[in-house]
Amino acid sequence: MEFEAVIGLEVHAQLLTQSKIFCACSTGFGAPPNSNTCPVCLGLPGSLPVLNREAVAMAVKAGLALGCQINRNSIFARKNYFYPDLPKGYQISQYDLPLGQDGQIEILTGVRQEAGHVGEYQPRTFGITRVHLEEDAGKLIHQQGRDSYVDLNRTGVPLIEIVSEPDFRSSQEAYDYLNNLRRTLLYLEICDGNMEEGSFRCDANVSIRPLGSSELGTKTEIKNLNSFRFLQRALEYEIERQKEVIGGDGQVEQETRLWDEEGQKTLVMRSKEEAHDYRYFPEPDLLPVVVSEEWIEELKAQIPELPEERRQRFVKEYALTHEEALLLTQTRQFAEYFETAVRTYNQPKAILNWMMGDLMGHLKQDHREIHECLIRPEHLANLVRLIDEGEISGKMAKQLFEKLYETGDDPETIISQENLQQISDEDQLTRIVDRVLEANPEKVEAYRAGKAGLLGFFMGQVMKETRGQANPEMVSQMLEGKLRSSP
């Protein structure tokens, strides 16, 4: 029997506010343990939460960007459970009436061929069940067999939870959705999207069913998916595992599983917290969150062109492939750098190659972001123009790039300072070529006697004479012409 996978994703994203959601403690990452705490986030009796307006604004923007209906009145609820990372014994979250609901996004998603490569892209629409606001829990430090430590700095950091419909039919679709969601939050500047540090976390619900069936099979929940690679591998593993269970006349158990990267498999999570009975009830300490029409309009106006729109526009406007456009639109800064460069000199492909090659390489090596880089997009564009106009050779361009990257100066200044111009003057080159040939009469004889490989030797001599600045194409043509003709 043929099966299809049914996958839904639940994402938790930390919002980039300065202060926590219900108190004025800092949200700064990496502060000394328990130094960002107060009676509210410690859950001390008698303290009361006061909502951070900016957290609501960010969550509304996320909801709007994901096509959600924004509820003008939404309700906070208490989700009750006991765990040492939750000092109050409940998490303030949303249940009945979330801030946003019933959204959808249309993205291009890859269809993979048998070899595993993405063969083509197709537009697909994925439903967003809800976007709601809640507070993060603290951090536990476990020690084998000994007491655990609790750091409550993270307690009360604002989170949005984004729940998708079970609309993904392959790990690739889930991957493309998650990637788009992450880019969207980055573009909105409401989350830093760091999966390793846990500011962007993902859980997946996975089930399988016979192809063509509309009923849902029993699902498992997979946690610990803290990178895109883990997500894809864990989903693939879990889909295969469930196929084997059902193929062997077994039944999939509804359970929570953890991705074990080392063992490359999902494992059943055994925990005392399996009692999924959170006894939600409306948070009595907070009145409804009211989002006015005017506020929504104001926030709507702040939403920039989103990554998927921009990606599709790049494909059309600059004749790029989907992969290229995807790479360029990873972050807003990167995309804007590209567009500024292209406005300066309209050669998108060449600029893309420099950005993805030399520039990315250098940035990665120096652990820098594009906006921290000295070389201006206009300068990079001019570098490409200088190559096209024959002012500098490809080899010289590499040298020039290094200088641009180090100094932030414009290419023309560096060329004149470093004397980097390419020599394309015919008379000047003729003189040099003649001098080289005259100085090596035996080699000229040998060449004419059939040793064609000596052309490289003459090229090298000319380059040596000109400190690498001779126009290589011109020199090569001249040499061939002069060597062919008898003296």
Partner: protein
């Protein structure tokens, strides 16, 4: 909904509470009283009445908000003051994972 000792035990378990059989019986009685009271409320017609989540709720009652500004937190020693056990600036709790 009929309430028995099993339901009370489950709720007590979720709240990390333990009761002896007599106490459980007593709570079954309390729970039943409460539920009977809600059953009485069911008799009231709430047609055309918007559902409320808080007693003070009204059309204009929005939860107050604050600006996103950081204010000083407690000194770590003060934050840890009520903890039964602490060590190296952390709250210390019995092992969570075996």
């Amino acid at each position: 909904m009929p309430i028995g000792t099993r339901e009370v035990e489950k709720i007590a378990d979720l709240a990390h509470l333990k009761f002896d059989p007599q106490e459980l019986e007593r709570f079954v009685g309390h729970f039943q009283q409460i539920l009977e009271y809600f059953a009485q409320l069911e008799a009231v017609s709430t047609e055309n009445v918007e559902s409320a989540h808080q007693a003070v709720e009204g059309k204009k009652r929005a939860t107050p908000t604050r600006e996103d500004e950081v204010r000083p937190s407690l000194p770590v020693a003060t934050a840890l003051d009520n903890a039964p056990e602490s060590s190296e600036d952390h709250f210390q709790v019995p092992p969570v994972i075996e």
